[in-house]
């Protein structure tokens, strides 16, 4: 990158002098030629801002005068802050989604500060140092392959992280429980499996397992939508829930023995009844 001839700076100075001369001789005056375009663009920007505000308000307030109503692009406000909550998942504003998802990627305790501070700091340093790393005079994108590939990769990865952050699901017991009725209809669960389904929804299973699209996949835990088709048997399920690593050596799944045998039986019935979408 820095294979500079000794005359590099002189060349750049000469190039800038040529630019200055060209602009002086053949340039146009900023007003009104360039400024007209600036004004058009600013009008678009202001219209978009006002438009978003209007859409936000007119679709969110809802029929029953409820500021929490979601609307098209978001509610007017969330419920009031409750520092003692046990049923809330914080989300940043969209432009921090990339960071939000980065934190989920660095899921090992030793790497936490890489996601929180490390990657953003490195990105910032690279940005600040950019003009000193790229010292060539060439500005045409077609002749700056490295820069263009780096830009595309950056945009791509930021886009992916933002998208993943926006669509990331979380297993909030108070929200997962609302899906139980639809599980019952979709999987045609018998009545005996319903207490187990409710337990499944509230006992943190969906923190790692997914079930009919609910829950978040962590630690390589399998999807349990059709776990019953494997016919593992009630007693295996109970033993597995009591001590997963005893039954499947190396399993990272925590023990659920503290729920008690009766509840584990309910859970096992639910799992064995889950034969997939029918």
């Amino acid at each position: 990158m820095a294979e500079e001839k000794p005359s590099g700076l002189d060349e750049r100075r000469a190039g800038f002098a040529r630019y200055k001369k060209d602009v002086k001789e053949r340039g146009k005056s900023f007003f009104p030629y360039a400024m007209f375009h600036d004004t058009v663009m600013s009008l678009i920007v202001v219209s978009v801002i006002v438009g978003l505000a209007v859409i936000w308000k007119w679709t969110s307030y809802g029929p029953h005068h409820d500021g929490l109503h979601k609307g098209l692009i978001g509610p007017e406000y969330a419920p009031p802050a409750d520092p003692g909550t046990v049923s809330f998942v914080p989300r940043p504003d969209w432009y921090f989604y990339f960071l939000f998802y980065l934190l989920r990627i660095f899921k090992w305790p030793e790497t936490v500060f890489l996601g929180t501070i490390g990657v953003p700091t490195i990105a910032l340093i690279l940005l600040l140092a950019l003009p000193f790393m790229d010292l060539r005079r060439e500005r045409r994108p077609s002749r700056r392959p490295v820069a263009m590939v780096a830009a595309v990769l950056t945009i791509f990865s930021m886009g992916i992280l933002t998208w993943k952050g926006a669509t990331a699901k979380e297993a909030l017991a108070s929200e997962v429980i609302a899906d139980v009725p639809s599980w019952v209809t979709q999987e045609k669960l018998p009545a005996a499996a319903i207490p187990g389904a409710k337990l499944f929804a509230t006992a943190g299973c969906t923190a790692c397992h997914t079930y009919l699209g609910t829950g978040s996949s962590n630690l390589g835990a399998p999807d349990l939508t059709a776990i019953g088709t494997r016919n593992l048997g009630i007693s295996f399920q109970i033993r597995h829930l009591q001590c997963p690593s005893c039954v499947t050596p190396g399993s990272p799944m925590p023990k659920f023995a503290s729920l008690g045998t009766a509840r584990l039986h309910e859970l096992a019935v639910f799992l064995e009844s889950s034969k997939g979408k029918r």
């Binding site: 360039a34 409750d82 504003d93 432009y95």
Partner: protein, 270 residues
């Protein structure tokens, strides 16, 4: 004579009116030189083939000005205390006349401002406009991006709803994981060992005084450097790109006194 006098009287009147109109400007110019400065800014030369993408910078400035104006108005009704913040936001959004519009513009303007900063940065990168002699302006731009994101972060807490509170908890704790200084930084941002009432007023002060002051100063510097160093032409430009011209263009100057119309298509006329 009488016939000739009448137009001349009108002429005199017109001249008097013109003089009366320009008098305040002349007065201002003589005492400050400001009129000349504005004239210099407006009529300075820019490359004749600037691109639509180059309007993103001024669009970002417009978005910032929208934030500044709407923010000042919101500050008249917002109450930065844990007790009142949420209800004052409700009041602004649901009860005060047009409060929803100003808050909506501020809320969504923030997103637009940040998108535009990224787009503007992408344009500068694509055009290679961070190269000599504009390195310093790139750095100022990166700092503006950081300040813009910080403004977004501090402003996010102000509605004092669940999203606001918990996103700020995580955001503050993110800073807390920085080696060595992290715990101190986090405790400063929290104004104590736990988030309390002062945290909200600290964020309010940062959001509406400290960070805007920084952004305004940096924007001033940014614009000063743009005016001093000139607007970059597109890198594929046939003129004013600062490249060594190998062969003289064969086209003949048309002799038009007006600069060429906008866009690269008319390059032949120069």
């Amino acid at each position: 004579m009488a016939i000739r006098r009448e137009p001349s009287r009108a002429q005199v009147r017109r001249e008097q009116m013109l003089a009366a109109a320009t008098y305040p400007l002349d007065w201002l110019e003589e005492r400050s030189g400001l009129v000349g400065g504005v004239k210099y800014f407006l009529f300075r030369k820019v490359p004749s083939d600037t691109n639509w993408m180059q309007t993103l910078g001024s669009a970002t400035l417009t978005a910032f000005l929208v934030q500044a104006v709407t923010g000042v108005i919101l500050a008249m009704y917002y109450k930065p205390s844990p007790h009142d913040a949420y209800s004052s936001i409700q009041n602004i959004t649901d009860h005060l006349t047009m409060g929803w519009l100003v808050r909506g513009m501020h809320k969504w303007g923030a997103s637009v401002f940040i998108i535009l900063m990224f787009l503007h940065m992408g344009r500068v990168f694509l055009f290679g406009a961070y190269k000599y002699p504009r390195e310093l302006n790139w750095i100022i731009g990166v700092l503006l991006l950081v300040l813009g994101l910080t403004a977004g972060f501090t402003g996010y807490l102000l509605p004092w709803d669940q999203t606001a509170y918990w996103a700020s908890v995580v955001g503050i704790n993110l800073n807390g994981t920085a080696p060595f200084v992290g715990p101190w930084l986090a405790q400063f941002l929290r104004s104590g060992q736990e988030i309390n009432g002062n945290t909200l007023s600290l964020f309010y002060s940062l959001h509406m005084l400290v960070i805007p002051a920084g952004i305004i100063s940096l924007i001033t510097l940014h614009l000063y450097l743009v005016i001093r160093l000139g607007v970059t032409s597109p890198p594929w430009s046939r003129e004013a790109a600062g490249r060594e011209v190998v062969e003289e263009p064969s086209t003949v100057r048309t002799g038009l006194t007006r600069p060429a119309p906008h866009g690269g298509a008319s390059g032949g006329s120069d």
